[in-house]
Symmetry: C2
Subunit: 344 residues, 2 copies
Amino acid sequence: MNPILVEVMRGGTVESAHRGALAVLDADGACVAAIGDIERPIFPRSAVKVLQALPLVESGAADQLGLSHAELAVTCASHNGEPAHTQVVAGMLAKAGLDRDALECGAHWPYLDTATRELARAGREPDALNNNCSGKHAGFLCLACAMAGTARVRDYARGYVAADHPVMREVTAALQAATGFDLAGAARGTDGCSIPTYAIPLRCLALAFARVGTGNGLREGHARAAKRLREAVAEAPFMVAGTGRFATRVMQRFGERVFCKGGAEGVYCAALPERGLGVAIKIDDGNNARAAEVVMAAAIEALVRLDDHDMEFMRELSAPVLRNWRGIGVGALRASDALRRALA
Amino acid sequence: MNPILVEVMRGGTVESAHRGALAVLDADGACVAAIGDIERPIFPRSAVKVLQALPLVESGAADQLGLSHAELAVTCASHNGEPAHTQVVAGMLAKAGLDRDALECGAHWPYLDTATRELARAGREPDALNNNCSGKHAGFLCLACAMAGTARVRDYARGYVAADHPVMREVTAALQAATGFDLAGAARGTDGCSIPTYAIPLRCLALAFARVGTGNGLREGHARAAKRLREAVAEAPFMVAGTGRFATRVMQRFGERVFCKGGAEGVYCAALPERGLGVAIKIDDGNNARAAEVVMAAAIEALVRLDDHDMEFMRELSAPVLRNWRGIGVGALRASDALRRALA
């Protein structure tokens, strides 16, 4: 039974609460902080996109196609589907000799409500470029391009979302190498964007992110790829999420000091390179915006050296005020005492 | 510590889970089924709109203004903000000599995404009529009209959302009478639409809904008002929620056999008149669509006499399949064994 990590206050009353678990490890596998069950395998969903992008760089595909910081950053993204995102993804696909028809992630209206309304106002419908995972999928297609050559890529890549496709086998192998967890024996589900997701313990996910932040424990090709991806995201943090989003706001402020990425169903992972630590969070009930993010904010407050301005910036993320439709403050989110103690 | 009531399955794995409590009482106060803590006060939010509408009918305001079934139904609603809803609310306000400027609920884009995109396509912005609570607020303003007369209503009603306004005092008194819970001593918060919300135990909420379904235990004016509101909602279930929504779908099928209404933060209440029972649910983490609704569906399956077609209909609500962006079935929601046992 995991403890309460986040409380939702209305007036002076706890109206709702979110339980979950958090692991903080260094790259040697030492557990620096933990709360809740960090051994139970959980689906990391989109939180591990940076691990799934390692083969794109290690294979040389990113160099061959001359991928920019923005393009590498969007391969690690669950983006808002804003025009800036869809344009970058379309550009990547063009470099691989492909277009949006090659994407197998499906289409959905942009995450960002103003972007959705702009599309609607223009009388348009969303396509696969607007899918929050389109950058990751474009990265898979660029990897396919390196594996098969530009001439053959369209045929070769078809069905790339399947677990046994050569592209996805590369991606899964990188995930296994970084986490050190045997994925052949892991529970498997199908993700929102149709690729497999494997259940992995928070302990292994935190370890993987400590490795991503330091390079320690990764093979040389992965270590170099992780560094390049982190630098790309620090250069183009808007690409990873977008307007108003937690990951974008945090990485716009902290640059390479924090790499963080959420996943559906209340998952959040981070690499804190200057501390040599990795963080992995799962909220039991699957809540992202008001639970996993508040826990990650509390972890950053506790684990990263912050000045007063940084603390003020973080407080908006770790203890956001809840406002009603007239803008009246009606409550707030807060990290539980148990979580604060675990991070102290 | 409340038990798990709903599990979120991805493939064969429990990916996330929702804890909570449920109370089923008859109008004499006998507890027929319960799971979790039903004594802890919780904010019922919009689930008690039918109780808050009792003074509108009992006062004679509904008769004086000639309110229709659709208009009475929308006073009990958390509606989608579709054109059918906003038109009915605008009509009610006109009967009271008012317009949308008198509403103090604030504005937001319609709950229904297609309605939002239609507004955007038309180059329009939402107003207070689109607020999911606009019908309840129109009901408060119609009550104010009966209390102050049409000539004075605009001035009299100003500030009606405040706890000490004469209109809100009537509304709160009805809530207290129906639940039998002392609201003067209760924790109070401000709701999304700016009116007060009072923390009330699930036991008292279930009792209130058993009373609403049977009239037993209510004073005569409230009993008659409850019957009229239930009939109105059964005649116009679209008004209570709208396209695709749980409450609308259930009440379109079952008519007066089931009255059900959700509230923000994972609350759901129901009256089951033919069984003489009231149901009240709170999900700890505040999840509505995939937790409170699944629990309510399981309660209806267990407590209402259903034929095979009804069972098939309910299965879509009690065990919905989760599909990804390409429409592939990736999992399902399910009521926990503990919940099924409690309802058996």
